[in-house]
């Protein structure tokens, strides 16, 4: 199934990608800014995400939280998210409100600084700190990813810290920092606008020209620092004695970045090991040995020179983490020596293909993928070869990645131990 795509670039550099689909009278609008936590300067961690919040606090012609209220009144669903590699803002709207969505996105892209105040910064800083408390600090295992990225990548590496940032840096962020951040990164030539749904490409592009055409290009945003980094040569290990319900082990391996055959092979390898209840580790750790409650594996999807491969196992009460880790190591080694079976590879591909179909069935999933390929790989058309890349993964490639990257010396291991 080919997803139809029409691309257009405005004079100010805004790239527009439209996918026409008349199944339902709705349209998804998604704006990806090429800025994430990997672009942040030392001492200003969390700024990209804090800024995402400020984008909902009004612009020259839109009042505080009016962005939400205007869209809600037409029955839209909307949000924004910040990740290592990008920040995105999106809304799915009934098609009659398509131009309202464009107008709102254009207004904040062009005029946010007209409405940015110390008061809105202070309020959203408090909200973000409460988001941090809720999702990280007050949550069992909540700081796992923060620890793992800190352990896997050295100080100064673009993936050393998470988008949520630190409390100290959030406190330190000034209005001038936010203004400078906007002026540097929030410009049409540093963004991709993805549109999927009940519109025609010509009509959509004409409307985009009308609303976004007046915004001047930015000064040229700096690239994120190069994150290219080789494998670790020694395992990094940390034990946390936080209060958690069950012991757990989290592992991250330095793998190839998303968009490379190595990352595709790692994704399949981790599915064979820990994807679903037919996986090798599920069979051994959950069913046979009864050591684990649940497990998971996958690739983090970062593109900047490296991408972590992940394995997570939550232990049954009383189970030994040493025994769990020994079994993980046996299975990693076996996959590196003997490779996967043909059926295992076929199963992993079928399952990953299914996830893709599910994701892109909704217009928002499609708009998001258009933006992802255009922003992170410079090629929206790449959306239509995504499954080809998956199916090109061979058993040999999986074995090779397991032998080279999924090895104990190339990982960070975080253990949660419950005091006896």
């Amino acid at each position: 199934m080919t997803i139809p795509i029409v691309e257009h670039t405005l004079d100010n550099g805004l790239r527009v990608v439209v996918s026409e689909d008349h199944i339902a009278p709705i349209v998804a609008v998604n704006v990806w800014y090429d800025v994430g936590s990997r672009h942040e300067q030392p001492g200003l961690t969390g700024l990209a995400h804090l800024f995402e919040h400020l984008m909902f606090e009004g612009s020259a012609n839109v009042g505080s939280i009016e962005h939400f209220s205007l869209l809600q009144e037409v029955g839209a669903s909307l949000n924004g998210t910040t990740w290592f590699d990008r920040t995105n803002y999106f809304e799915t709207v009934p098609v009659h409100a398509f131009e309202l969505a464009l107008w709102l996105e254009a207004d904040r892209m062009g005029t946010l600084l007209a409405a940015l105040t110390q008061e809105s910064l202070d309020n959203q800083r408090d909200v973000v700190k409460n988001e941090r408390r809720q999702s990280y600090d007050n949550q069992p295992y909540g700081t796992s990813w923060e620890n793992l990225f800190e352990m896997l990548y050295p100080e100064g590496h673009p993936y050393h810290h998470l988008p949520i940032g630190s409390m100290a840096d959030l406190d330190a962020a000034s209005l001038d920092d936010c203004r400078a951040f906007f002026s540097t990164h929030y410009a049409p030539d540093n963004a991709v606008l993805g549109i999927a749904g009940d519109v025609t490409p010509d009509g959509a592009i004409e409307a985009v020209e009308r609303y976004f055409g007046v915004i001047p290009p930015g000064p040229g945003a700096p690239d994120a620092p190069d994150g290219t980094i080789g494998p670790l040569d020694e395992e990094v290990r940390r034990v946390l004695d936080e209060e958690v319900p069950n012991e757990a082990v989290y592992q991250q391996y330095r793998c190839d970045p998303e968009g490379t055959p190595g990352a595709d092979a790692a994704q399949v390898a981790l599915h064979v090991l820990a994807g679903g209840s037919a996986s090798r580790l599920h069979q051994r750790l959950v069913r046979d040995e009864e050591l684990a409650i649940s497990l998971d594996g996958g690739h983090q999807g970062t593109v900047g020179g490296t991408g972590p491969g992940v394995l997570v196992v939550h232990a049954r009460s009383g189970a030994s983490l040493d025994a769990i880790e020994a079994i993980i190591d046996e299975e990693l080694e076996a996959l590196g020596i003997d490779g996967p079976g043909d059926e295992e590879v076929a199963r992993a591909k079928a399952s990953l293909e299914r996830s893709w179909l599910e994701h892109t069935d909704a217009v928002m999933g499609r708009a998001d993928e258009l933006c992802r390929h255009a922003t992170l790989f410079g090629d929206a058309e790449r959306i239509n070869t995504e499954l080809d890349r998956l199916h090109a993964v061979t058993g040999e490639a999986v074995q090779d990645i397991a032998a080279r990257h999924l090895v104990p010396t190339n990982r960070a291991v975080l253990r949660y131990e419950v005091a006896a």
């Binding site: 029955g75 098609v95 209060e243 209840s277 299914r354």
Partner: protein, 452 residues
């Protein structure tokens, strides 16, 4: 500062395009009910089989038995062991899931349309000829106990666990989670799980739901296959249990020393989704805590910055509902202020109802969002399943939207007065009791403190 460009004026909108909830074709095939909904152009088809095994069949003291049995259906069939079964599902590009609730036992599979006949065969095999070995059932029982430990450690889930038994009388099955509590799960036995499967799985009261691009599928043939595999027993559907809500306003604080936030719930028992009050209740509750622009978030989040956000929810439970006025976490230091502020906002809404503007905006939102909500087969199948669970006609979503559009300010005010009052509301706070426990005394009714 950079020059601010002059933007175009805000566009004027035409009215929304007409949209209706997809038509559901309901009929019977060989003793089971079939609900088919054709949604062309989607890659995956969703199939669900609803068997009349509600969790109310759990014997007293063995709550969680039906859910344990439902969970065990994923552990292989008489023909295929668990791993082979799951591999077969995955090779079809499928996903298989089971659950148990007050509406019954639910087995679902979704897959690309051309693989649906094979996928439905696997679903039928799991449902009718499950392995149900002692070892697997006992393992899932232990895992469930570990999961409960996990839920208890999550402040928000802990708040939910504390709310439930304070809303319903002990004899009401709703007072215990569908999956059971620590006390009841510990005693569940494999024999009893197999017995509940054998005693209740049958044609009568079973419904097959198919949603997606059905053009090349013979849904009736699929349904006939399921029906013939089921025991030929036409006992009709088990009626809902009468709801037994508790009374009186009270508060419980669960002590988590040093917690940086307090997880809060305020709730009471409400009417069922089958009552005429429901559409107006949707409006009143959305006004209270539907989104960021709601009355609660406008103050607690956007004005005060005390929270990442709180929500109001209404959750139907067959014949009744749980009205959660507020669910969310607030910074520890401001807990008492946040509770008092929220309490005040709720009281005001209960006393005066939403404004005309709020009713208009909320109705526009709730009706306008429908074509987005029901975009995919999975979502439509979920909506049909929720109607089944609440004994509603399967096309009820359409009826509900029509009724919603007619909700007036006085309807919303009456419902707010009748159902959103806090006279018998329960407040749960999971946080540092030393910071909040005594301060709440006398302000929200009796305060029970646990674990301090």
């Amino acid at each position: 500062m950079t020059d601010i460009p002059t933007m175009r004026p805000r566009p004027t909108l035409s009215g929304p395009a007409p949209w209706a909830f997809p038509a559901v074709d309901e009929h019977a095939v060989e003793g089971i009910d079939v609900a088919a909904c054709h949604l062309p152009g989607h890659p995956l088809v969703a199939i669900q089989v609803h068997a009349d095994i509600p969790v109310t069949v759990d014997p007293a003291g063995q709550e969680g038995l039906t859910a344990l049995m439902a969970n065990s259906l994923k552990e292989g069939t008489k023909r295929l062991d668990a791993r082979a079964f799951e591999a077969a599902v995955e090779l079809l590009g499928g996903k298989f899931a089971t659950s148990a609730g007050h509406g019954g036992l639910h087995a679902a599979i979704s897959a690309p349309a051309d693989r649906i006949p094979a996928a439905v065969d696997l679903l039928t095999e799991a449902l009718v000829e499950p392995r149900l070995h002692d070892k697997d059932i006992l393992r899932l029982r232990s895992q469930r106990l570990d999961e409960i430990t996990t839920e208890e450690a999550d402040p928000d889930m802990r708040a939910g666990l504390l709310l439930r038994p304070r809303l319903w009388e002990a004899g009401d099955r709703r007072s215990i989670p569908s999956e059971g509590s620590r006390e009841t799960v510990a005693g569940l036995e494999p024999d009893a799980a197999r017995q509940v499967h054998a005693a209740h799985l049958r044609r009568g009261g079973t419904t097959l739901v198919a949603v997606g691009d059905l053009e090349k599928l013979d849904v009736d043939a699929l349904a006939a296959g399921v029906a013939r595999a089921l025991p030929d027993d036409d006992r009709s559907r088990t009626p809902a249990d009468a709801a037994k809500p508790t009374g009186g306003r009270r508060a419980v604080v669960f002590h988590r020393p040093g917690a940086v936030q307090t997880a809060l719930r305020i709730g009471r028992v409400g009417p069922g989704r089958d009552t005429p009050d429901w559409p107006a209740l949707m409006v009143a509750m959305h006004t209270l805590g539907g989104t960021l622009t709601s009355r609660l978030d406008a103050v607690l989040r956007e004005e005060k910055g005390w929270t990442y956000g709180v929500r109001s929810r209404r959750s139907p439970v067959r014949g009744a509902s749980v009205i959660t006025h507020l669910s969310g976490s607030v910074q520890s230091e401001v807990t008492v202020d946040a509770v008092e502020t929220a309490w005040q906002i709720i009281r005001e809404l209960a006393a005066g109802g939403p404004t005309e503007e709020e009713v208009r905006e909320t109705v526009a939102y709730l009706a306008g969002v429908q074509p987005l909500t029901y975009e995919t087969p999975r979502a439509v199948a979920g909506a049909i399943a929720s109607c089944l669970a609440d004994d509603l006609p399967l096309g009820h979503v359409g009826t509900e939207i029509a009724a919603l559009r007619k909700v007036t300010m006085s309807d919303a005010a009456a419902v707010a007065r009748d159902h959103l009052h806090v006279d018998d509301a329960v407040l749960v706070a999971v946080g540092d009791a030393e910071m909040i426990g005594t301060a709440l005394e006398g302000r929200v009714g009796d305060v029970e403190v646990i674990g301090a």
